[in-house]
């Protein structure tokens, strides 16, 4: 289908983009990879009057470690994450996520930041970034502000962004020694959104006890969920089978799945348990090697 008519602007700087958003407010939409927005415009579920294409702003596609953070510029594509040696070597959670977002063609255009702003409860990056305790750097008329991922994701398709704000960067704290992570997703077919998925990031202390844990749940609620009770059950404990199973049961309790074409609520809840077990086992094994 053909989207409704709109005006197209391609700013060359973040400041120019912010000024355009300020001018057009709710009439404007940012377009990054377009892999969620264009399908919505084709169905006329979105009909922006003005499209602000940030794809031509130079210098927003960086991916590097700096000042204690992995810094992911707003134009970093899913495929860049997938193929980056830095991500493959040091960020197993993000590497595992990048491989299962959509399909390789969509991954060549879609961006990590765009996925977070889209705030689809079935978005894979949101769950991964929750486990990784990421922050979102936002530019607006008064400069930049940094929002923790839990506060950034407000509701289904709703974030803490103001209409005149733009995401410029996603930041992930560089994991310390003995850290590991994993992303486990069940999908009906390759390239599909998750039936259910679980993101896990852990750091162990020298004695092998869990020092820090992050668990994000994808596609089992109105929004990406943090399995906080499960995280608490891990901290201070060795990641043995009993602890892992206990945390997995708590993660399943935290899920708020609904029945749909991808599966019944009961099935999805149990899959959260199974996927949490698998993700914790592999994250723990990676942490012991890291």
């Amino acid at each position: 289908m053909i989207p409704a008519a709109f005006e197209y602007v391609a700013p060359r700087s973040v400041a120019e983009a912010v000024a355009l958003l300020r001018q057009h407010s709710y009439d404007a939409k940012v377009i990054a990879g377009g892999q969620s927005l264009i399908p919505m415009m084709r169905f006329r579920m979105a009909q922006p009057k003005v499209l602000v294409d940030i794809g031509r702003i130079p210098g927003l596609d960086y991916l590097r470690e700096e000042d204690g953070y992995l810094r992911i510029g707003a134009l970093v594509r899913h495929a860049t994450m997938e193929h980056s040696p830095l991500i493959q070597e040091r960020y197993p959670l993000l590497a595992a996520t990048a491989r299962v977002v959509a399909d390789p063609l969509v991954r060549n255009l879609g961006t990590v930041a765009g996925s977070l702003v889209h705030a689809d409860p079935a978005g894979d990056w949101a769950a991964a970034m929750m486990a990784a305790r990421a922050q979102v750097v936002v530019a607006g008329p008064d400069g930049e502000r940094v929002i923790g991922i839990d506060d950034f994701l407000v509701d289904t398709f709703t974030t803490a962004l103001e209409p005149d704000e733009l995401v410029v960067e996603v930041r992930v704290p560089i994991p310390g020694p003995r850290s590991g992570g994993d992303y486990q997703k069940i999908e009906r077919k390759v390239g599909d959104f998750a039936t259910a998925a679980v993101a896990v990031q852990v750091t162990l202390d020298e004695a092998g006890r869990c020092q820090q844990a992050g668990i994000g749940l994808c596609a089992v609620g109105p929004i990406t969920l943090r399995a906080a009770a499960a995280e608490e059950a891990l901290v201070g404990q060795p990641l043995d089978e009993a602890t892992i199973r206990k945390a997995a049961a708590l993660a399943a309790e935290a899920a708020q799945p609904t029945s749909d074409t991808r599966g019944s609520a009961e099935y999805k809840r149990d899959m959260v348990r199974v996927l949490t077990i698998r993700a914790l086992r592999s994250a723990a094994a990676r942490a012991l090697k890291a």
Partner: protein
């Protein structure tokens, strides 16, 4: 409001005034007149519209033509050179990589993009590379075989088929 854009498709420059909502696939088919790139769905699901944009395979139905201003695009029409099929076209022919042919331009472009990045892919890597491209006919087996065979030919491996000129009928079996 019209926007003047210029893109290079298969080495040739196309300039036109377009409405911002014109999708790239429609620019390729209707403005440039290159109808080898197909449209198979309304939902960004099928990959029939796959073209190579600045070296990367993408779904041309999910990009506006204005976003592609200034870029280099390759479509199925650009594969054959000087009347000779590209090795991937020869391989699809040889290994029966198509039936109705609807998905084929997309499969070829996804396959070429893979082989340019990774000249010696495993079967698993081939399957992953075409996982955004749907085929309702072949069951994929022969498509995978064709791409692996093309890899062999492009590496100049043994048993490379001699030239199959464009425009002849299919080989006798």
């Amino acid at each position: 409001m019209g926007h003047r854009i210029a893109v290079t498709i298969n080495g040739q420059r196309y300039e036109a005034e377009v409405e911002p909502r014109l999708l790239l696939v429609h620019f390729i088919r209707e403005v440039a007149g290159l109808t080898g790139t197909h449209i198979g769905c309304d939902t960004t699901s099928c990959g029939a519209c796959t073209v190579i944009l600045n070296g990367k395979p993408i779904k041309s139905c999910t990009m506006f033509a204005v976003q592609a201003d200034g870029s280099e695009i390759r479509t199925v029409e650009g594969l054959a050179q000087n009347g000779e099929f590209h090795p991937i076209q020869k391989a699809f022919w040889e290994c029966h990589g198509l039936q109705c042919g609807y998905c084929t331009p997309g499969m070829l472009m996804a396959g070429v993009a893979l082989l340019e990045r990774n000249p010696n892919p495993t079967e698993d890597e081939v399957r992953r590379a075409i996982s955004g491209n749907l085929c309702r006919c072949t069951g994929y087996q022969n498509i995978v075989k064709s791409i692996l065979r093309a890899a062999e030919m492009m590496r100049g491996g043994a048993g490379v088929a001699s030239g199959s000129p464009v425009g002849r009928g299919s080989p006798a079996q």
